[in-house]
């Protein structure tokens, strides 16, 4: 998966009858990254930074305003919907909220069988029920649960169903959009372990979107940090956590609480001032300069480009 110069602008309209476009929300603004086969790229950032929109644009659930998305060698951003359809089974998504992403009126079995029917994959002798049973046991749910409805399941079990559904079409690439943040702490680790096991077993490639930096460090091989529609830093997992170079990454890492009062008592914490500006009117120059503890005049003037300051470690900051 390779993404180049991805942009997604949403129009802001005004007027009741003749809707005029009065501005643009630059949800994703010139984002580039690549994910190698079998790798997990973590995409972190706070709400509104564009990480979910990036994930949806990669899957063509939203058509990007500009840029290309190369999947297994083809630019899928240029394909028509009809051309995309056979490719869609190769790219799946696991959503954040297992309560709203499952249909309350369908049984677990029906929901998992549905994508198999839609893509016409249930004709070659394998009965759909067998496939459902197989998928349920793969995600650690007793196949007898296929007759149950979502409300009879706990949050963790529902998320397992969401994962089974994503796996039903044997994808090679899965976008995991905050897959554990709606779950109880004791269940989160179960789901993370499951995602890792499935990756090894089925050679999956993940784009893992999350705001929890400790979870992202655990699961990702490389990590990209987003702020206000842009990637501000991208590096290998260990490199990013040991040598964060962008002031935003440094602040994010320092804000993550550690469950140990002795560590917390001596840990430096960078508390950022202010809040994230509106993506409809981002600051000129570096988008982070309004909150940056080390900003200088030059930061307001020109937008910093990603530079490779250490091997495979890219940072968009002139002060780094």
């Amino acid at each position: 998966m390779e993404v180049r110069g991805l942009k997604k602008y949403f129009p802001i309209t005004s007027g009741a009858i003749a809707r005029r476009v009065v501005g643009w929300v630059k949800a994703v603004d010139d984002v580039s990254f690549s994910i190698r086969r079998g790798e997990t790229l973590g995409l972190v950032g706070e709400s509104g930074c564009g990480k979910t929109t990036t994930g949806r644009c990669v899957l063509q659930l939203e058509r990007p305003t500009a840029g290309s998305v190369l999947f297994e060698g083809r630019d899928i951003a240029r394909l028509t919907d009809a051309e995309l359809r056979p490719l869609r089974r190769r790219m799946q998504i696991v959503f954040q909220d297992p309560y709203s992403s499952l249909n309350p009126r369908m049984t677990i079995g029906q929901m998992i069988a549905e994508p198999v029917h839609v893509h016409g994959l249930d004709r070659n002798g394998v009965k759909a029920a067998d496939r459902v049973a197989e998928l349920l046991s793969v995600v650690g749910i007793n196949p007898v649960m296929a007759r149950r409805y979502p409300h009879e399941l706990s949050g963790g079990q529902r998320q397992r169903v969401g994962i089974a559904r994503a796996l039903a079409l044997e994808p090679s690439f899965i976008v995991c959009d905050e897959p554990v943040s709606a779950l109880d702490v004791s269940i989160q680790a179960q789901i993370i372990n499951l995602l890792e096991e499935l990756q090894d077993r089925f050679h999956l490639t993940y784009l893992f979107i999350a705001h929890d930096l400790s979870v992202v460090r655990h699961i990702s091989d490389r990590i990209a940090v987003m702020y206000l529609g842009k990637i501000v830093e991208i590096a290998d997992r260990q490199e990013l956590y040991e040598n964060p170079l962008h002031p935003y990454t440094q602040a994010l890492l320092s804000a993550v609480p550690v469950p140990d009062p002795r560590v917390e008592a001596v840990r430096e914490r960078i508390v950022l001032r202010g809040e994230v500006p509106s993506p409809s009117n981002p600051p000129a120059g570096c988008v982070f300069h309004t909150r940056c503890p080390v900003a200088i005049d030059e930061c307001r003037a020109a937008e910093p480009q990603l530079r490779e300051l250490r091997p495979d470690h890219w940072v968009a900051c002139i002060r780094a």
Binding site: E46, S47, S154, G155, G156, Q157, D184, V185, S186, I187, Q188, A189, Q190, I192, N193, E196, H211, D212, L213, S214, V215, R217, H218, R237, Q238, Y241, A251, L252, L253, S254, A255, V256, P257, V258, P259, D260, P261, R262, V263, E264, A265, R267, R269, V271, L272, E275, V276
Partner: protein, 325 residues
């Protein structure tokens, strides 16, 4: 330090179509003047119901207090009539809720929401109330407070709304603030801002804080004491330093081990707690954690009481002393 709040054997039961749920099942804890106490547990463990019971805000008639005492400054709040409780609620004990958007009134200005509490709890002139409102917004670090007083909640960001909630909670100079997941709905950098703010204000005014959260990490920096809840009961309690250094209940140990930690080397695999969260309609006999517990014995079919491990450190586990350290 003097005792401010003492909860003794509190039981809050909820009637549902599927039977009675013992949301809070005989818990006891106390809060000293000016200290910060954490109630930690996952969804359904009864932590929010505990706070609502203290505030006298449980959803009646479905929910009812089935037993126990809630002594605040020596008076049992459960024995007070509605009017006496109204005078305490908001004035002496205030609450900050998780969702600042749903707990602020969308059609009232921020000024009105701040002055409402002040006027409800004393004779204060319009002018004095307005000045106090301004002072409160400054206190919680909201820029342009004069301008902001005239605005409505939708014009505030999530973090700013939560600051307003804190301002409202502080408005009548309470002795105790109950904060129910005060930062859960917010981004990490904003969480850090708000927790620092709450700690600063609680020290400045000597207000005691009860922080209710599912995240053991959040409170490590702030809590003096921690109570861990599971299925309506406190299963471990004590000084924060002891609980984090040497947890003695398998559930607390499991919670601390299951989260990836940024200050430690990355583990190859996380160690989750097995099984599903407890089904409150159908709790097992004896220890509620037994079906998920790696150390469960035959004896665990018998209910383990909360007992002293060392000093003030307590745990409700038959084998607490024998668990791996």
């Amino acid at each position: 330090m003097a005792e401010l709040l003492a909860v003794r054997g509190l039981k809050t039961y909820i009637g549902t179509s599927m039977g009675i749920v013992k949301a809070v099942d005989g818990i006891s804890f106390d809060v000293q003047e000016g200290e910060t106490v954490a109630l930690v547990g996952e969804s359904g463990c009864g932590k929010t119901m505990t706070a609502l019971s203290i505030m006298g805000l449980i959803p009646r008639p479905q929910a009812e207090i089935a037993g126990g005492e809630i002594c605040f400054q020596g008076r049992d709040l459960l024995k007070l009539d509605a009017e006496a409780m109204r005078r305490i609620r908001g004035a002496e004990i205030a609450m900050v809720f998780q969702e600042p958007m749903t707990s602020l009134n969308p059609v009232l200005t921020i000024e009105r929401q701040l002055t409402e509490t002040l006027e409800a709890h004393g004779t204060i002139s319009k002018q004095a109330a307005r000045e106090r409102a301004l002072e409160l917004l400054r206190l919680v670090g909201i820029p342009d407070p004069v301008e902001r007083l005239r605005q409505y909640p939708h014009q505030f960001s999530g973090g700013m709304r939560q600051r307003v909630m804190i301002a409202i909670a502080l408005s009548c100079r309470p002795r105790l603030i109950l904060a129910d997941e005060p930062t859960t709905a917010l981004d990490v950098t904003i969480q850090a801002q708000l927790l620092e703010l709450m700690r600063g204000l609680s020290r400045q005014f000597g207000v005691a804080l009860v922080i209710i959260t599912h995240n053991l990490g959040v409170v490590a920096r702030y809590a003096d004491r921690v109570n861990v809840m599971y299925a309506g009961k406190i299963i471990e309690g004590g000084a924060a330093a002891d609980i984090y250094r040497d947890p003695r209940h398998p559930y607390t140990i499991g919670l601390l081990h299951s989260v990836p930690r940024l200050d430690q080397p990355r583990k190859a695999r996380l160690e989750p707690i097995d099984g599903q969260p407890p089904d409150l309609w159908n709790l097992p006999l004896g220890c509620s954690f037994r079906p998920r517990c790696k150390f469960a014995l035959e004896k665990c079919r018998e209910f383990p009481p909360l007992r002293r491990i060392e000093g003030t450190h307590e745990a409700a586990c038959w084998v607490a002393e024998d668990l791996p350290r």
